[in-house]
């Protein structure tokens, strides 16, 4: 199979790339969360989202998740906070009040333009740094109750708008659409929807003004600039932004610029959205440009590369089209080549399916093998689509599914399914079940299972109540009004995307933390307490309370009962039983929008900090040790090789879960020097997907290099290291120390 070699990078792009990397490693893009509780439960009781970097709600010793923030830190708080409409007047929980703040905020956010950049758009502040983001006390009380039982969630920031709506209408078109619908609702006397759309209008007018400020600034810079090439680029920026402030994009350059400024305007909410199928979005513009002979392939590649260098958001390539044929097009190649050219921090995903263009797939596998930083993420479109259909998405929504974030996927513009930022810590119900069995003097494994079932249900109820309370306030407290502009329903109905009856699909996905630990624990208990009767549950309970102190032999016995991830039928059956159980429990809960809860076998970082918070577990785990990451076996417990792990993994039907990535850290010497890496990554990934796997995060990195990087983070060669941490990427040296330690512990694969 012939695949392209890495395209050469121009010196202009190389400068932009260096600027980008510098921003990332100098902690200008850090994403903070409040504390360890947030990582574990996805809710801290302090912030309503990830921690605001500045402002009244920025407090305490926060944890740096990595350079995973679209925002560029300026080192200062938003200078006009005191003049925000909600500060001068009154903070009200209404879309109008929110929109007035948003319009003021975005029009007082500076246009950021660096020299020689054709694609512009950055921002320094999120709205929650200037507007108070706080749910009422009743919601918080339910949050604390859920936390106590082992669950939480922020209900915010993770969906995927359909940018084709905005690309087709432009800002004037969107404005017109809002006004037409507003007039309709006014005529019917639907004051709520009319009011929402009046607020929407304010949002769009603010964004248009903000985009014009880029044009104005670019013209000023052009005037001052002496170097003709730089001046010409400023002029192009001015022209492009001027045009797209009003009209729909007319060519590829305008389309990419439109996307970037939409993302910026939207990210000011505090979002972490995905943005859909980039190849499909851009292909019509590229075709039109080619037909008019106004663009070369290299120019197209360079424009996409600039979009990637602005931030590196979640986009996807590949997949199937509406007719279920391969959707790979010329822009799929151009986008992948663009990443291949610039490399580094990025969140591109390539969606495999049984009919994918084999050369394109081989190329994607080669790129991730060569860069070794989990990009592109390899995902299984067929499982994505079938999973959406199984949930209840209509065919017309499911075909367009797009990899959108860490492990999650969306039908762009057709859902607000609350992905990735809800958590259920499965260890806690198990701990309570053990207590219950011991205190009630019960004596069979099925008694333990019944107590576990009871406790899991309690936790799920608490989570449901907390989520529903949040949902009832969300459209009033923090509507997602920019995202709503590029969705199918909100403008037509005058209902924010966070509201009920707005978009077609509004499920609640819940990250389940500790599934392998719980299933390994239950299996060990079944074997040693109930089958072999070697220990009583009471003895085990005491051992766990003391963190196995003085009981190393006993701990070893629990540790060496077969574990999930080794293709052992008993251990794996328990893992399937536990996963199926939590799925059934969650699916039987409904949110107030009329959709059920769904489990995700993934949790982005809670496993690193959860250990001491939860204590020792019956799988032989010491309190200080991390939990398993997602559905991956515990570090060092998959002794039977990668294929055994994969067989264990694929005993789960991933259509029933909202993602469950296989995380692999490989040493570079796995690949023979003379062999193209794609030639090995492709058959490996293809086999995994044919067996029903859903996602592979592949890092190729030398253990020694990471260890040196921890000691000497300032060396340039260490600063360049990017890793796919779990579902997201980060520069290794920027990461929290505990994350680094956990990551290094994983790098144990000399071979698969």
């Amino acid at each position: 199979v012939n695949i392209p070699s890495r395209p050469n990078i121009s010196s202009r792009l190389d400068t932009i790339r260096a600027r980008r990397t510098q921003l990332n490693i100098s902690h200008k893009r850090d994403l903070l969360c409040d504390n360890a509780e947030f990582l574990v439960y996805h809710w801290s009781g302090q912030s309503e989202a990830f921690a605001p970097a500045t402002g009244e709600q920025a407090k305490g010793d926060r944890i740096n998740i990595g350079d995973h923030n679209c925002r560029v830190d300026s080192g200062k708080p938003f200078p006009y906070t005191a003049e925000m409409p909600s500060k001068l007047g009154k903070l009200e929980n209404t879309p109008e009040n929110w929109a007035a703040d948003y319009r003021f905020f975005i029009t007082h956010s500076p246009a950021i333009i660096d020299p020689d950049e054709l694609i512009v758009g950055d921002f320094h502040w999120q709205l929650d740094e200037a507007r108070t983001f706080r749910y009422p006390e009743e919601v918080h009380q339910l949050g604390y109750q859920a936390r106590k039982l082992g669950a939480g969630g922020i209900s915010f920031t993770h969906t995927c708008p359909d940018l084709s709506i905005g690309l087709a209408l432009g800002w004037n078109g969107l404005l017109q659409k809002i006004r037409e619908n507003r007039a309709r609702f006014e005529a019917y006397g639907n004051e709520d929807s009319a009011a929402y759309l009046r607020a929407s209008e304010q949002v769009v007018l603010g964004i248009q003004e903000y985009i014009r400020s880029y044009a104005k600034k670019a013209r000023e810079l052009a005037q001052q600039e002496i170097k003709p090439e730089t001046k010409a680029i400023y002029q192009q920026v001015a022209q492009c932004t001027e045009a797209i402030a009003n009209d729909k994009p007319k060519n590829l350059h305008e389309a990419i610029q439109w996307i970037q400024l939409f993302q910026i305007s939207e990210r000011m909410h505090g979002h972490g959205n995905g943005y859909g199928r980039l190849d499909a979005l851009l292909q019509p513009f590229y075709e039109a440009d080619c037909a008019a002979q106004r663009i070369t392939r290299e120019e197209a590649r360079s424009l996409v590369a600039e979009l990637f260098l602005r931030y590196g958001n979640y986009f996807s390539l590949g997949g199937k089209n509406r007719e279920q044929n391969d959707a790979t097009n010329e822009m799929s190649w151009i986008c992948l080549e663009a990443f291949d050219m610039v490399g580094g921090y990025n969140h591109l995903g390539v969606m495999w399916h049984s009919k994918i263009d084999k050369a394109f797939w081989r190329y994607a596998c080669d790129v991730v093998g060569r860069y070794g930083a989990g990009c592109p993420t390899l995902v299984n479109y067929d499982i994505f689509r079938e999973s959406e259909l199984r949930s209840g998405y209509p065919e017309s929504d499911a075909w367009n599914v797009s990899y959108s974030g860490c492990q999650w996927y969306c039908s762009p513009g057709n859902e607000y399914s609350d992905h990735d930022v809800n958590c259920l810590v499965l260890v806690q119900p198990l701990q309570r079940a053990i207590e219950r069995v011991v205190s009630q003097g019960l004596d069979s494994f099925e008694d333990l299972w019944n107590c576990y079932n009871y406790e899991v249900n309690l936790t799920a109820d608490a989570l449901r109540d907390f989520k529903n309370a949040t949902y009832s306030w969300q459209p009033k407290v923090w509507p997602e009004m920019v995202t709503s502009l590029c969705a199918h329903g909100p403008i037509e109905k005058g209902r924010d995307i966070t509201n009920s009856r707005s978009v077609n699909n509004a499920y609640t996905s819940v990250n389940v933390l500790g599934v392998p630990n719980v299933s390994d624990s239950l299996y060990a208990i079944e074997q040693l307490v109930y089958v072999n009767k070697k220990y009583s549950l009471k003895e085990l309970q005491a051992a766990l309370k003391s963190d196995w102190a003085g009981l190393e032999k006993m701990r070893q016995e629990f540790l060496h009962v077969p574990k999930f991830g080794n293709d052992h039928s008993g251990a794996d059956e328990m893992a399937v039983r536990v996963s199926e159980h939590i799925r059934i429990v969650l699916e039987s809960r409904q949110n107030i929008k009329g959709f059920n809860f769904r489990p995700s076998l993934f949790q982005f970082m809670g496993h690193t900090y959860a250990g001491p918070m939860l204590g020792a577990t019956p799988d032989g785990r010491l309190s200080r040790e991390p939990l398993a990451h997602g559905m991956n076996p515990m570090h060092g417990r998959n002794s039977g090789g990668m294929t055994a792990t994969i067989r264990s993994f694929c005993k789960l039907d991933f259509r029933k879960y909202q993602g469950g990535s296989l995380q692999i850290e490989l040493q570079p010497n796995f690949f023979p020097q003379q062999q193209r890496r794609g030639d090995l990554v492709d058959p490996f990934a293809t086999s995994f997907f044919q067996m029903g796997g859903v996602q592979i995060n592949l890092n190729v990195i030398a253990l020694e290099k990471l260890q040196r990087a921890m000691e000497e983070p300032d060396l340039p060669e260490h600063q360049e290291i990017v890793v796919k941490v779990t579902g997201y990427s980060a520069h290794f040296v920027v990461m929290d120390r505990k994350f680094q330690e956990e990551f290094v512990e994983r790098v144990n694969y000399k071979r698969l």
Binding site: P683, F684, Q690, R751
Partner: protein, 318 residues
């Protein structure tokens, strides 16, 4: 098909290996060896009978192993557990009774059926990558009957087979192996016979004669198996200009056009810890890795002398 009761002693399995043949492979390491190479990277493979060894990182000091050993082959001191190889009969009672799994068996008995079942689980990976099963060791042909029967069964199941061999024991099994082997990975370590004897304990004459015989028979076959020659580059031993030139000349003269690849496999010292666990000294413990420039020079010499510039590769560099 009647289930096979034939058994082999296997001391390690690597899944999805890229080291021994094309694609993604399962490599089974068979116990026992015909040679005694000074630099051996799998010292635990050399003895044919099953053995045990101790992993000090896992040990929690219960000492059930010492207490339960029927031949009193284990002793405990401040240095840890010592295994007296003369008295140990490999019964494995210590292994079975070690809670922490710190006592490990070197060698497990596998039936052909078990092996085929295990390999079939990875068949999809083999098919998609052009890989298969490799038998390595030790010297697999110390257990030739097992190899031949297992390969025949694997072939019937549509799995590609590769034999990693030193060639010393090949001749009596040549015909049978040709029927069930898709790839021979054949070592030529050293051309100077005196040195070969000193470093490996045997003459290289049968090895080279067997290789020529193999090439002769292969060229008469309708469906010809692939043949890769492999040379370990051992510092101060085989990694010399003279040796590479001599092997290259041998290949050109005797094997010209009949081999698919010649791999120069760079020395590494990862196995030092295995010698430590076996309580054996290793002459190469403190040996530095091969210099990059020197190995590149050897690669060039190999290409020139063998006349197969496109098919000579250097592998295993750090």
């Amino acid at each position: 098909m009647t289930p096979s009761q034939k058994t082999g002693l296997i001391f390690n399995v690597h899944h999805l290996s890229t080291d021994d043949g094309p694609g993604l492979r399962d490599t089974f390491f068979l116990k026992g060896c015909a040679l005694r190479c000074e630099w051996c990277h799998n010292p635990e493979s050399i003895q044919s009978p099953r053995e045990v060894w101790w992993n000090k990182n896992k040990c929690i000091g219960q000492l059930d192993c010492v207490r339960l050993c029927p031949t009193q082959a284990l002793s405990f001191s401040t240095d840890g557990i010592s295994i007296h190889r003369d008295t140990c009969n490999g019964c494995g009672i210590c292994v079975d009774n070690c809670t922490a799994q710190a006592m490990e068996a070197i060698g497990e008995t596998w039936t052909v059926d078990q092996l085929v079942t295990e390999a079939l689980k990875d068949k999809l990976f083999f098919q998609n990558s052009g890989g298969g099963v490799t038998f390595s060791g030790g010297e697999p042909l110390k257990q030739a009957a097992f190899v031949i029967e297992a390969f025949a069964r694997l072939k019937k199941e549509g799995i590609s087979t590769a034999l990693d061999t030193c060639g010393y024991l090949l001749r009596p099994h040549l015909e049978e192996l040709l029927a069930c082997t898709d790839l021979f990975l054949y070592d030529i370590k050293e051309m100077n016979n005196e040195q070969h004897r000193r470093w490996t304990g045997v003459s290289n004459e049968p090895i080279l004669e067997n290789l020529i015989a193999l090439v002769d028979v292969i060229s008469q076959q309708k469906k010809q198996p692939d043949l890769w020659v492999r040379t370990p580059l051992i510092p101060k031993r085989t990694a010399s200009r003279e040796n590479i030139l001599a092997i290259g000349a041998f290949i050109k003269k005797n094997l010209g056009g009949r081999i698919n690849r010649w791999e120069l496999c760079a020395f590494n010292n990862i196995c030092a810890q295995k010698y430590a666990r076996l309580e054996q000294d290793w002459a190469f413990s403190n040996e530095t890795l091969l210099d990059r420039n020197f190995s590149a020079e050897l690669l060039e010499l190999a290409k020139k002398s063998s006349g197969m510039s496109e098919q000579v590769f250097l592998t295993g560099l750090a």
